[in-house]
Structure formats: structure tokens, C-alpha cells
């Protein structure tokens, strides 16, 4: 159901922008679609590798090691561990969130788990390498990742102040 709504929004936006381009200039529409199509062709091998390969990576990562590092008494060292673990977690959203959920259920510290989830969202290496760099200028991507580093720590600090949900 969610996937259907996302598809409708996505293709709806695409049709909407196509109509705008077509009304502006028909040649623009052709060129833009060709550029987008070329991007697609260039990106498919990497996406194939990432999507088809991530299941294998997810199957062998030692998630219990990550979960063990996120205990409630680990303090800021635990938060730092969580940030590194979030960046290093391979695989898609199922892997990242499942590790977070297991950590939370098995008594992990909330600031550490939040830092883990936020770090994973901001700069999980597999998403950066397989999605962000192919689409965007590499210097932008590295700069964005560097600038994002303080934010998992900030999230953990906010949690330490305001407490659990």
C-alpha cells in the first residue's frame, strides 16, 4: 500500500514535470528525457550490484557485535561506537533498522540507538557509494558527509536531555 502511494506520487510528479517541460519547449523535453535515460543506463550496473549483493552482506554481518556495543552504560564512547557502526552497516533499511530494533529490545541505551539510526541514515557507506556518489558530484558527497558528522552526536545529546519517547 505504501509502495503504491509512493509509486503514484513518483510517476505523478514525473508526468507533471514532463507536461511543464513539454509546454515550455518540446526540444527541452526530448533532451531532458535523454539525459535522464543516460543517467539511468550508467547507474543500473551499480544499483544491480548494490541491491542484489546487499542480501549476502546482510546475511554475514555480525549484528550481535554491533548490538553489544550500544549498551546503556557506554556513555559517549558508546555513542561514538554507534556512529561508526551506523556508517559501517551494509545492506538496506531492513538491516539498519533491524539492528536498531534488536539493540533497543535487548536493553541498549536509547541515546546510543538513536545515534546509530541517525548516523546510518546520514552516512551509511553502502548508500553513499552505490547511490549518492553515482548521482551527485563526489566532492559534494564527501563534503556533505563531513558536515553531517556532528548530528548523530547532537541527536544523542538531545535524547540524554529530554529522555525516552
Amino acid at each position: 500500500m505504501t509502495a503504491l502511494i509512493i509509486d503514484i506520487l513518483l510517476w505523478g510528479s514525473l508526468i507533471g514535470v514532463s507536461v511543464i517541460a513539454w509546454r515550455q519547449d518540446k526540444a527541452v523535453l526530448g533532451t531532458a528525457l535523454r539525459n535522464g535515460g543516460m543517467d539511468f543506463i550508467n547507474i543500473v550496473p551499480r544499483i544491480a550490484l548494490g541491491v542484489i549483493g546487499s542480501g549476502f552482506i546482510a546475511a554475514i554481518i555480525p549484528s550481535e557485535v554491533i548490538v553489544g556495543g550500544l549498551g546503556p552504560d557506554t556513555g559517549w564512547l558508546g555513542v561514538a561506537t554507534a556512529v561508526v557502526a551506523g556508517a559501517a552497516t551494509p545492506g538496506g533499511p531492513v538491516v539498519g533498522f533491524s539492528i536498531g530494533a534488536v539493540a533497543l529490545k535487548s536493553g541498549g541505551g536509547t541515546p546510543q540507538v538513536v545515534a546509530y539510526v541517525v548516523a546510518w541514515a546520514l552516512f551509511a557507506f553502502q548508500r553513499v557509494i552505490l547511490w549518492e556518489i553515482p548521482f551527485m558530484p563526489a566532492r559534494f558527497v564527501w563534503f556533505r558527509c563531513a558536515v553531517s558528522v556532528p548530528f548523530p552526536f547532537l541527536a544523542a545529546a538531545i535524547v540524554m536531555v529530554i529522555g525516552k519517547p
Partner: protein, 197 residues
């Protein structure tokens, strides 16, 4: 892409450079690292679970790949169209280096409402950069998409982490796209020459 009118001031190298999109290679060193990681992981799965284990994972992932392919195509086309349709001068004004807090807020709002996953967020962000948005506003957009965008939250985070955790995590994250964009701008003007950004 190189035919875009260059309306940015001469000292702003950002737009001019990002316009060249043809440099991308399908395979580079980073892809090679992932490929090696996948190969090692597949070998370990094969040793542990045998051929059946490898086959189960492979068939699941191939069907997932088939499912998202049309969305990747839609995202790429959307990025290409936006780069062509968005008016360069207006984007530079509302999302450029001089756009101030308003530019960061627009970037944040745009990232939060953008439909789809990485297959839309990155092509669209790349299109914005190409038509005159600065690093700060684009960072706000990407960070907003990943931290407060509803796509991944609804599809993955809520079912796995629970609604309470997800909503609470999003509330905590609300200021972050703007802060990240502001930090990006602050740092960018200071290091752009040193690191040839």
C-alpha cells in the same frame, strides 16, 4: 547540460562545474570495493548455508531489484527534467549562496515532501546543484530527505522500530537539516579554495 546559461557570478565555480554530468563511470574503485565485499559475503554464505542459502538470497534480491528498477528510471528522468525545467536565475536566488535561512528552509521542506527513495532524492538534488542551488541548501535538502522524509520512515522505520520511536526520532531530527545546511555554508566558504571544492 553544458548549454545552460551561466548566470552565476564568475567567482562561483559551483554551478559551472557540476553541470558536466558526463564524467560518471559506471564502475570505479568504490564499486570495486562493494563488488569485493559482495563476493566475499556470497562465498561465506555458500560455505555456511550451501548453494540453497545462496540461491534463496539471490532470488529474493533479484526480485527486489526488478521491483525498484522502474522507480530508479522514474527518479533519473525526474532529475533530468527538473534540471531542464527549473529556472536557473530563480533557483539561484531562492536556493543559492545568498538565499539565507529562507533557502535552507526551502531545501528542508523540499527534501521532506519529496516522494520516493534514494532513486529520486539524489538525482533531484543533483539537478538542483546544476541549476544554481548552493552546497548549503542542497545539504539541507538531502539531510531533510534522509532524516525527516516520510518515505523511508513509513515504509521501513515504523514497521521495524515502531511508530513511537520513529515519530520521536523525527521530532529530534527536525532542526538538523537547517543546522547541517548552515554548517555546510559556513564551512564551504572557508575551505572551498583550500580543497578546490
Amino acid at each position: 547540460m553544458s548549454k545552460l546559461p551561466k548566470t552565476e557570478p564568475p567567482n562561483d565555480e559551483e554551478g559551472a562545474e557540476t553541470v558536466s554530468r558526463s564524467k560518471r563511470k559506471p564502475f570505479g574503485w568504490s564499486t570495486f570495493i562493494i563488488a569485493a565485499l559482495v563476493a566475499i559475503s556470497a562465498a561465506l554464505v555458500w560455505r555456511r548455508d550451501g548453494l540453497d542459502g545462496v540461491w534463496t538470497i539471490l532470488s529474493h534480491d533479484v526480485s527486489l531489484f526488478g521491483e525498484i528498477m522502474p522507480r530508479v528510471l522514474a527518479g533519473c528522468l525526474l532529475g533530468g527534467l527538473l534540471a531542464a525545467v527549473l529556472p536557473h536565475d530563480k533557483v539561484s536566488r531562492s536556493l543559492g549562496p545568498e538565499s539565507g535561512l529562507k533557502g535552507l528552509l526551502i531545501g528542508t521542506a523540499f527534501g521532506a515532501i519529496l516522494p520516493g527513495g534514494p532513486f529520486t532524492a539524489y538525482p533531484v538534488a543533483s539537478a538542483l546543484l546544476a541549476v544554481g542551488a548552493d552546497f548549503g541548501a542542497t545539504i539541507a535538502m538531502v539531510v531533510s530527505w534522509t532524516l525527516i522524509g516520510y518515505g523511508r520512515a513509513v515504509a521501513w522505520e515504523m514497521p521495524i522500530m515502531g511508530a513511537d520511536f520513529t515519530l520521536w526520532r523525527i521530532v529530534i531530527s527536525l532542526p538538523m537539516p537547517i543546522l547541517a545546511g548552515a554548517l555546510g555554508r559556513f564551512v564551504y566558504v572557508r575551505v572551498r579554495n583550500r580543497f578546490k571544492l
